[in-house]
């Protein structure tokens, strides 16, 4: 059982001179190593929720715990140094080279020069920038996507347990964004960081998050896996929100095992086999590219556990009834 990295206990935030709560009574536990996306429209309180974690904003009431410790009791600067913080506008220091930007916190933590240099190289390689070419550059000599890669590297410099990301790819073109999303997933799998990631993009939230928090008017509407949300939207709002996502996108979060039909395990079939975790999107692609009307689903032990037919796939895409059955 993973430890709880962050716990919200009845957290509310009301800004000065407003009558409404930006965040109202949020309770939530985030376990270590999970990738949580916070999804909502502007004004939903998603960014406020995120920024209360590193105390850019202070909660009006309630408390937030970091590995069981109320964050109010922690020394603010030391606490923040344990958290990687990435924002949409990146905020690189323009008068410092890439190397100096990334090395800022390690330097404050008094790592020796050699260790810092090695760390900078390793981080640049992790975010797919060649250290030799990029380390001596200044931020203005980088493209938007490269800047955000450096921003990501800088946030991870002191090997934080927790990463807070506020629409980090919001200002980046679609193709670069897709690359960055995939790299972030890869980095998260590799380093097992706990990530809180705010976005207003439904597909991004569903693609990245192990679990998705849906915020609306300062409260959590639903906190579940992407599949759980598509299968059983908690309320009208969530149903409407996910309906804005196109059907093909939705297939990307649905896994083979969630819709497969039972089969007789004895039946040996030459049909194409997919894993239980395979997305319906890939299966659809297979159907479209090959003259087949079913695939077999096999578990990690390579034994067949179910099948998906063309008909079944069509039914499944009309989310709701079948999925929740």
């Amino acid at each position: 059982m993973a430890r709880t990295a962050i716990e919200f206990r009845n957290v509310s935030k009301q800004y000065a001179n407003t009558s409404q709560y930006a965040v109202a009574g949020v309770n939530m536990c985030i376990s270590e190593g999970s990738f949580i996306t916070i999804l909502g429209t502007s004004g939903s309180g998603k960014t406020t929720l995120l920024k209360m974690v590193n105390r850019i904003y202070e909660a009006t009431s309630g408390e937030i715990l970091y590995f069981g410790e109320p964050i109010k009791n922690l020394k603010i600067e030391e606490y923040r140094r344990k958290i990687g913080y990435v924002i949409q506008q990146v905020g690189l220091f323009p008068h410092m080279t890439v190397e100096e930007n990334i090395g800022t916190i390690p330097q404050i933590l008094r790592w020796d020069t050699d260790t810092i240099a090695k760390r900078v190289d390793a981080l640049l390689e992790l975010v797919c920038l060649s250290p030799r070419d990029f380390k001596k550059r200044y931020p203005r000599q980088l493209s938007g996507g490269q800047q955000q890669r450096v921003g990501l590297a800088r946030a991870m410099a002191a090997d934080p347990d927790l990463m807070l990301m506020d629409e980090p790819f919001g200002a980046i073109d679609a193709i670069t964004r897709q690359n960055l999303q995939e790299e972030l997933i890869r980095i998260q799998r590799k380093l097992n960081k706990t990530i809180l990631f705010v976005t207003h993009d439904v597909s991004e939230a569903f693609k990245l998050g192990d679990k998705v928090v849906i915020m609306h008017e300062g409260t959590i509407q639903q906190f579940d896996t992407p599949y759980g949300i598509i299968a059983k939207p908690a309320n009208e709002y969530v149903a409407r929100l996910i309906a804005t996502q196109d059907i093909v996108q939705r297939l990307k979060v649905l896994k083979a095992q969630s819709v497969m039909l039972p089969v007789d395990p004895q039946v040996s079939d030459r049909a194409f086999r997919v894993g239980t975790e395979e997305s319906l999107h890939n299966i659809l692609t297979y159907f479209l590219e090959h003259d087949q009307n079913h695939v077999l689903v096999e578990d990690s032990g390579r034994s067949v556990v179910g099948k998906i037919t063309w008909e079944q796939l069509k039914v499944s895409t009309r989310q709701g009834k079948i999925l929740s059955a």
């Binding site: 590193n54 905020g91 916190i105 404050i108 203005r140």
Partner: protein, 221 residues
Amino acid sequence: MNKGLNMFTYLLKYYDQMLILLLEHLYLVCLSMLISLLLAIPVGLLIARSKWLSTAALSFFGVVYSIPSLALFSFLLPAFGLGKMTAIAVLVIYNQYILVRNTVTGFQSIDASIIEAGYGMGLSTKYMFFKIQLPLALPVILGGIRIATVSTIGIATIAAVIHAGGLGVLLFDGLRMNYLPKILWGTVLSSFLAYLANHILLSLETKAIEKSRGECRGDTV
């Protein structure tokens, strides 16, 4: 030709007095710039945090700045008397508008995301000020110092009227005696001083701009 010769003979004859007046002028300018900076930078920093306060303070300094210098000299005479004290007080008061405004603008023009990222990653207020905010605001502050210095060199000539000395003595004596070489030397020397100060401070400013933007020599991008 004749006048040029006059100027030359005047220089040969009175170079020691001229040097004293030049040094006096430099003293007035340097001392009032020093005091001005010691006041304006903290004031600018203090009011930069509040939009309301900075607008109010800058309007006030703006009004003061619009008072003609002769009027301000005579206005402060009862308080500080004749001489350098009053002159320096007036020069310091004038400088506040330019210096405070540029300090405020310098700090307020830093991209908010840089500040948020800095604090968010756990930088201390002191580190943020000296390593991030000051280097980024420096070009604008230096620009203010440059303009203030040049204008101080000019206004300081008028301080001769209240017996504060400096190059203004040459100018006003020349005017009173209708003696051209004196007027010309006063003009040439104070213009030269202003030009030199502008040149030196401009090169510092350019360096600060390059530094704050992350440019370096041989930069091709």
